[in-house]
């Protein structure tokens, strides 16, 4: 699924760490959080496979912006956190 800039997305509330050895580039603090796609950064080999020397398909990497207070329930309105997130971690919101 492709997302255009400005699309509202939610990061999957998934915790593969609980199921076995993994290498995940999606920080814990944005799991389950809603954000906005800023732009597509390009396509890169999936680090979750690359880290284990498995064949790693190209996956679209997005820059996604989150309101800082909505993540932490503190902080200043208008402040933001921007994170690189792979397509398979995003769903429409």
């Amino acid at each position: 699924m492709m997302f255009d800039p400005g699309s509202s997305v939610r990061v999957k509330d998934d915790w593969p760490e609980t199921r076995g050895p993994v290498h995940i580039r999606t920080p814990h603090y944005v799991r389950g959080m809603q954000g906005t796609v800023v732009r597509r950064l390009g396509a890169f080999h999936n680090p979750e496979d690359l880290a284990f020397a498995r064949p790693a398909a190209l996956r679209t990497l997005y820059h996604v912006r989150f309101a800082q207070p909505s993540i932490w329930q503190e902080g200043r309105a208008g402040d933001e956190v921007q994170v690189e997130i792979f397509e398979h971690w995003l769903e429409p919101a």
Binding site: L41, Q82, E84
Partner: protein
């Protein structure tokens, strides 16, 4: 004897020999890479910032593609991750962190400072960035300036293009570059005269 107990010089020599024998990396290529790594320093990023401050066309190219803009100034980018440039404005400040590890734009800033890799910086930069900047660096963003923390989590590396400080009118690129510090391009400090 395990690999951990092996003499490190012997181990390195063996690795170099294997890399050469398998045609993966020649001694000359390894020497070139070491020279590139050693030459990378915040001075490289500072040259880019100074040029962007004086040349609007370069600024536009730098914001579009940081790696290409670096290469334009002779900074070696081959084999390096893509470089994104975050433009500070009078209303928007940027701060770079890597909460997962220590991703850092080494090609243009050199080795990361020790605190950049600390658990304290990585945790607090995303949760309480204004408190962190004020306490650790004395950087207090004026009211009306929004803060965007960019967490370097995957394949890009990020540097900040800070605001040119007042009092530098008429300065040439070399003089401008001399005031740009590593922290200014991470976003923990703001360039000042």
């Amino acid at each position: 004897m395990t690999i951990l107990e092996t003499d490190s010089e012997k181990l390195l020599a063996a690795l170099r020999n294997v890399l050469a024998a398998k045609g993966i990396a020649s001694p000359a290529e390894i020497a070139e890479r070491i020279a590139i790594t050693d030459s990378a320093s915040p001075g490289q990023g500072a040259r880019m910032v100074a040029k962007a401050w004086t040349d609007p066309a370069y600024r536009a190219r730098m914001l579009e593609d940081g790696a290409k803009a670096a290469e334009e100034l002779g900074i070696p980018m081959r084999g390096m991750p893509p470089l994104g440039v975050l433009e500070d404005t009078a209303e928007q400040h940027h701060l770079v962190v890597c909460t997962l590890c220590s991703c850092y734009p080494r090609a243009v800033l050199g080795y990361p400072p020790f605190w950049y890799k600390s658990a304290g910086y990585r945790a607090r930069a995303v949760r309480d960035p204004r408190g962190l900047l004020a306490e650790a660096w004395g950087t207090v963003l004026p009211d009306g300036v929004r803060l965007r923390v960019v967490d370097s989590t995957a394949d890009y590396r990020w540097m900040v293009l800070p605001l040119r400080p007042a009092g530098t009118e008429g300065w040439d690129e070399a003089r401008l570059a001399s005031i740009v510090r590593e922290g200014d391009m991470i976003g923990v400090t703001i360039p000042r005269v």
